[in-house]
Amino acid sequence: MSENKAAAWQALTGRAGERAALLGTEGLPTRRVEAWHYTPLQSLNGVAWQAAPALGEAHIKQSVAELDLPQHDGILVFANGQFCPALSHLPACMEVQEYGDGAAVPRLLTGRFSAGLNAALRQPGARLKVPAGRDAGLVIMVSLTEGEDVSTHLHHSVTLAKGAKLTLLDIQLGTGRYLTNPQMDVHCAEEAHFSHITHQKESPLAARLAIAGAKIEERGNYDSFTLNQGGALARQEVVSQLNGPFSNTNVNAIQLVDGERLNDLSSMIHHAAPDCTSRQTVRTVLSEQGQGVFQGKILVDQIAQKTDGYQMNQALLLSEKGQMNSKPELEIYADDVKCSHGATVGALDEEQLFYLRSRGVPEAQARDMLVQAFLLETVELVEHESLRHYLLKALPGHVG
């Protein structure tokens, strides 16, 4: 980061009033805004949001060590919006780019509140580049946030050159009542393959407005998986644009919502080129007074003939007070396409439960088994084996 940028950043974040103003009543989308109808942001209003103070290195180190991380080729640690070089290293083939000047919202994310907020209060994050033909292996990014009424707005970018490959495990955690608003801009060049696994386990008091925008060129692949299980109010927004023919994207997710929390997965899969495929499986388990939101749109341009798009979202309601709001959406302007979506909301299947009970499985255990089975199918969509294990370990204790 250049000194100029740092100074500019300082000037921007130093003014707490500005931050509060941006998040004030006027700046926040209301329930009448279609995209935020099910995820009301009014709880953010009235908080005097501050820039997050730096955390001690020993403390950060300890927090990272407590994570049961899989074998990896590189790691990047951010704490309260600041990069921790001492705790980070990258695979040799990867480049870290200078943080550029552009504080604008990329066209792909125009009009999206989370991206606008990030542009206004942007903090420099990781700028990663994988050169052509190289496989960077598994890189882990840990973003830790701690504090009361503080907000972070990290801006990351990941660029994969032709034929490059990268798997990124993106872990977000923290304690306290804070707001995180990370953005990641992704570009997959021809035949590049980016596997992006987000494990969201923010503080149960935190608010989170995360957004990722990916542009995928010919035969490229952006494979996104989100495990949403933290935050009082947490939206993960994924915009994936299939820009070149024969490209592919998966936008899968599991949401485990308990307490009085709200988890939201909103996605836009944009078929902007012919012969592309997209797959989406989103499964939500709601217990206690949890609220789940799924909004998924598949947009098929007129040019995008031979599109093959499939979207499935299913929710399990395990308590009388849980609530699920789904809005799967198809917007199609090409005629030679195969697009379908399905959605279900319901309780555990009584027949399956009866089957297990009749074979001597106690009720509580039978319920857990069925919930596990419901989630397992989605975890299995993750290609990377050690990441599948990592995710499976994260599941228990949050279900049932």
Partner: protein
């Protein structure tokens, strides 16, 4: 691959084909001055010789309308509507007591003929005595906002069924109207329903008393006839405990240069074990090949299943109008009540349709079914927008939704926007949607068996819509199939 070239040609041909029912009947009209203000509302009320309470109801609606803004969330585009540039009251000038066909205005009869109303029904409409006991269909023809005649009233009256223009009901059955009007669609429900409440001129009123099975299908023909008149229909149907009624609504409108606004409100009330079936075939003028003209169809239709085990079923075939904006809905408030929605929407040329339903489950064991078929051709845009909501008390609620879209040509769009909101653990909601084009395999199969391409498309489209068409009453099913054929006529070859 885009649509076969024949299909494209066909669509072009179709776009150019003239609106079969594009005609204008030259009947003397009694017009109110253009514009909308309290005086117009008072004038309408006075012309209809309405009681004071009705006028106050209208004025209340008008005042709330003035404070509302036009909704813009539907996926439709149109130039701004000038609500002051229209006549809000148009009435054919009545000659006193036309008792035989010869006395009836021949223009009116011609209209019926073009509409395809059978002759004996024409006679009935015109009030010719002793004619037409053969068909058990009662027709209430709405001719530019005023019910010209209601047939079969005597037969219905013997069964205790009231079927009359709503203007008459306001005067003759004020208690019933007062009790139910605006209870399903409140005055300030939305912009267009408020407008309708203020200025509606006529519509149908149906009351089926306890335990009565309506002895015949009830039907209404809507026609928008004079230039620049909005059509603001108001329909109210009440089925008391264990009553059953089937109501058919058919629409055709003459060809016009300017867009015409149609903002109807339909309210259905079904009490315990009652059943209401409401079927619509809508074929208003869709505009010319450049998308000019055509009807704006902004309709609020809603039914409430008030009693336990009540049933409301909406079936619609929407082929006309430049813009369709309508969501026939069911509020399932009675235990074990049932809501159904079956829809075929065909858009062609520059038509836009944003249509669907709302199923609001309030009570335990309520069930709803939604089957929506969308066919887009030409440069049209068609959207299914539907809401299924399970409230916490809707234990064991059940919904199944199926939306299928068929695209003909690569200039059109088909969209599906379902909203699913569940707050009931034991409720089960299922939704599935597909979008595709007519498969080459199916076409080839039909062609290899000697069907022309056009026949093959007709067959496939009819098959695609079958689940919905079979829900229509017999009389309408035939008409609807004909309409589909006309709408997609020459869509190949």
């Amino acid at each position: 691959m885009p649509a076969v070239s024949e299909t494209r040609e066909a669509v072009e041909k179709l776009a150019k084909s003239n609106y079969e029912w594009g005609f204008e009947t030259d009947v003397e009209m009694d017009l109110a001055p253009k514009g909308l203000n309290e005086d117009i509302v008072r004038l309408i009320s006075a012309r209809k010789k309405e009681p004071q309470w009705m006028l106050e109801w209208r004025l209340k609606a008008f005042r709330s309308w003035q404070e509302m803004s036009e909704p813009n969330w539907a996926k439709v585009k149109h130039p701004p509507i000038d609500y002051q540039d229209a006549h809000y009251f148009a009435q054919p000038k009545k000659k006193p007591g036309p008792k035989s066909l010869d006395e009836v205005d021949p223009e009116l009869l011609k209209t019926y003929e073009k509409l395809g109303i059978p002759l004996h029904e024409q006679e009935m409409l015109a009030g010719v005595e002793g004619a037409g006991q053969k068909t058990p269909v009662a027709v209430d023809a709405v001719f530019d906002s005023v019910s010209v005649a209601t047939t079969f009233r005597k037969t219905l009256a013997e069964a205790g069924v009231i079927f009359c223009p709503i203007s008459e009901a306001i005067i003759e059955h004020p208690d019933l109207v007062k009790k139910y009007l605006g209870t399903v669609v409140p005055v300030g429900d939305n912009f267009f329903s408020a407008l309708n409440s203020a200025v509606f001129t006529d519509g149908s009123f149906v009351y089926v008393p306890k335990g009565v099975r309506c002895p015949m299908e009830l039907s209404t023909y809507f026609r928008i006839n004079a230039r620049n008149t909005g059509q603001f229909e108001r329909t109210l149907i009440i089925a008391e405990d264990r009553a059953t009624v089937s109501y058919l609504e058919g629409c055709t409108a003459p060809q016009r240069d300017e867009n015409q606004l149609h903002a109807a409100v339909v309210e259905l009330v079904a009490m315990e074990d009652a059943s209401i079936k409401y079927s619509t075939v809508q074929n208003w003028y869709p505009g010319d090949e450049d998308g000019k003209g055509g009807i704006y169809n902004f309709v609020t239709k809603r039914g409430i299943c008030k009693g336990d085990r009540a049933r409301i079923s909406w079936t619609q075939v929407e082929t006309g109008s430049a813009i369709t904006w309508k969501y026939p809905s069911c509020i399932l408030a009675g235990k074990g009540s049932v809501g159904e929605f079956y829809s075929v929407a065909v858009t062609n040329g520059h038509q836009q349709a944003d249509t669907g339903t709302k199923m609001i489950h309030l009570a335990p064991d309520t069930r709803s079914t939604i089957v929506a078929k969308t066919i887009s051709a030409g440069k049209s845009d068609s959207t299914y927008r539907g809401l299924v909501r399970m409230q916490p008390k809707a234990r064991n609620g059940r919904n199944f939704t199926q939306c299928d879209s068929l695209l003909i040509g690569d200039q059109c769009g088909a969209h599906t926007v379902p909203y699913i909101e569940s707050r009931s653990m034991s409720a089960r909601v299922e939704h599935e949607a597909t979008t595709s084009k007519i498969s080459e395999d199916q076409l080839f199969y039909c062609r290899s068996r000697g069907f022309s391409e056009e026949e093959a498309v007709g067959l496939i489209v009819n098959g695609f819509c079958r689940e919905v068409l079979k829900e229509l009453p017999m009389e309408f099913a035939v008409e609807a199939q004909k309409l589909l054929q006309i709408s997609l006529e020459g869509s190949v070859g």
